[in-house]
């Protein structure tokens, strides 16, 4: 498939390896602009490598990554971020030793024009009032859920063109998982194209428009979410 006009993200023939270990061999994914695609698969299937490659934080051996019609494959991470690609890495996408306020400042500085920065900061705090309460606290001392709120606040205060969210619900209590998915839904409403790497299959499929199932670094299945459940169940828990 070639890049289509309406595609927010096109990944073509992506190959990634770390040293001698091949993580992805030739992955093709198209995410229509403004839609959500869930990337599912077992541990070690290559989900995080895919997310990192798109965010610019991981290596790319071969293939193309196109965001809104622009080929960003050779761009360094900072340039992608400035062009509207928001990548939330696996684990916690925050600066642990900076305060909440500094975290938001650092995250928003390149995401919004100077004139709008103060407003964006205020918007981010409004989204999750707990962040305002904790604004002088180091982000690493927040609970896991609050850290993900911080990462989401940045996305909601200045909606990027593309959000690559890698397992944002990892290790969170169920109530906090709800908060994360609420936030993602709001981002979708803002028109953000989302590539969602998730382990909570049901929740992810509920939010997504399409799903991609990775197995051993290859796309094992791709299609609309309606058909995805049965496919995934057999792949995760065995027949």
């Amino acid at each position: 498939m070639t890049a289509t006009a309406g595609a927010g993200l096109v990944v073509e023939g992506l190959e990634v390896s770390y040293g001698d270990v091949r993580a992805l061999h030739g992955v093709d994914i198209t995410v229509p602009a403004g839609s959500v695609t869930a990337v599912l698969g077992a541990n070690g299937a290559g989900k995080s490598s895919l997310a990192a490659a798109i965010g610019g934080a991981g290596p790319v051996d071969r293939g193309r990554i196109v965001v809104d019609g622009e080929d960003v494959t050779r761009w360094p991470a900072y340039r992608r971020a400035r062009a509207g690609v928001a990548y939330v890495p696996e684990g916690r996408g925050v600066f642990p030793h900076l305060t909440v306020l500094d975290n938001l400042r650092a995250m928003l500085r390149r995401a919004v024009p100077a004139a709008d920065r103060a407003d964006a900061l205020a918007r981010a705090m409004d989204t999750f009032p707990v962040l305002h309460e904790r604004r002088r606290q180091a982000a690493g001392t927040l609970s896991g859920g609050e850290q993900q709120m911080l990462a989401l606040a940045r996305v909601l205060a200045a909606p990027p063109r593309l959000l690559v969210a890698d397992e944002m619900s990892l290790g969170l209590a169920p109530r906090m998982v709800d908060v994360v998915f609420d936030g993602l839904r709001r981002a979708e409403d803002e028109g953000v194209t989302i590539l969602l790497v998730e382990q909570y299959v049901e929740r992810a499929l509920d939010l997504a428009d399409e799903a991609v199932l990775l197995r051993h670094g290859e796309v094992a299945w791709a299609g609309p979410v309606g058909d995805a459940r049965a496919e995934v169940r057999s792949s995760y828990l065995g027949g």
Binding site: N43, S143, G144, G171, A173, E202
Partner: protein, 256 residues
């Protein structure tokens, strides 16, 4: 009789994240314990605590009833605890055979004897019984042909076998395996399962298995402990665990 390895009320906190919350588990003599749970549930952290690489904030680790919570990884290894790693930790400068040699000799001579032997050039002379022991392990794992290959250049599946061989060469009584099947295809996984089953019986090992491949664990383990959000949410025989609703929910997430 006290279990070979036991964790009592282990809690680990990383910054604001409670990675393990009062986890209890025990491995009886010659038993296989499966430790499963979704990503981020705390399985690998739990292995870190058991093997001495992660200090818990509270709780105890006991081997044969002796408290080893404060003991270094080295001391635990000499007491018969061995492990493999989820992210491969092979020694890239060493050959496959040398991995086993280093491990075999870790319970060896005192420092003074060693320095003397090292300087005189006798430092690499095999210990008595070493060669046979190592050949046996290589043979069991099917690594004999690769004995002289540098480990840094091996594919992932073989690397896992090298780690297993290295662990076995320490002559362990308890073996912790962290995601042994990840990166292996279905055939390799089946072969590995059989191998572990027979090794366990032959060597009177107690095995603890962290796995994402639920089928493999349920088929192999005598007992299964399920972690989620750092807490034990289920503990029982494979059949009990398979039927548990809590486990279904933990894996697929509750339908909203």
């Amino acid at each position: 009789m006290s279990p070979r390895l036991e964790g009592r009320g282990i809690s680990v906190r990383f910054g604001g994240l409670l990675a393990l919350d009062r986890v209890d588990l025990e491995v009886a003599d010659g038993a296989i314990l499966g430790l499963i749970g979704p990503n981020g549930a705390g399985k690998t952290t739990c292995f870190g605590v058991l093997s001495g690489l992660v200090r818990p904030q509270s709780g105890q680790v006991l081997m044969d009833g002796h408290d080893v919570t404060g003991a270094s990884p080295q001391r635990r290894a000499r007491a018969g605890l061995a492990r493999t790693f989820q992210r491969l930790e092979v020694f890239s400068g060493l050959t496959v055979r040398e991995h086993l040699v280093v491990a075999y000799r870790s319970r060896g001579r005192n420092v003074a004897t060693r320095i003397a032997l090292d300087c005189l050039g006798a430092g690499r002379r095999p210990f008595s019984g070493e060669d046979e022991a190592i050949e046996t392990i290589l043979d069991r794992l099917g690594l004999t042909k690769l004995a002289a290959a540098p480990a840094g250049a091996l594919p992932l599946g073989t690397g896992r076998l090298v780690e297993l061989g290295r662990a076995l060469a320490t002559r362990p009584r308890v073996l912790l395996l962290d995601e042994p099947s990840s990166g292996l295809d279905a055939d390799e996984t089946a072969a590995l399962t059989e191998l572990l089953r027979s090794l366990q019986a032959e060597l009177d090992l107690s095995l603890v298995l962290v796995e994402h491949n639920v089928d493999m664990v349920l088929g192999l383990a005598h007992r299964v402990t399920v972690l989620d959000f750092g807490q034990v949410i289920a503990d029982g025989t494979p059949a009990e665990v398979r039927a548990s609703e809590a486990v279904q929910t933990a894996y697929l997430g509750a339908a909203p």
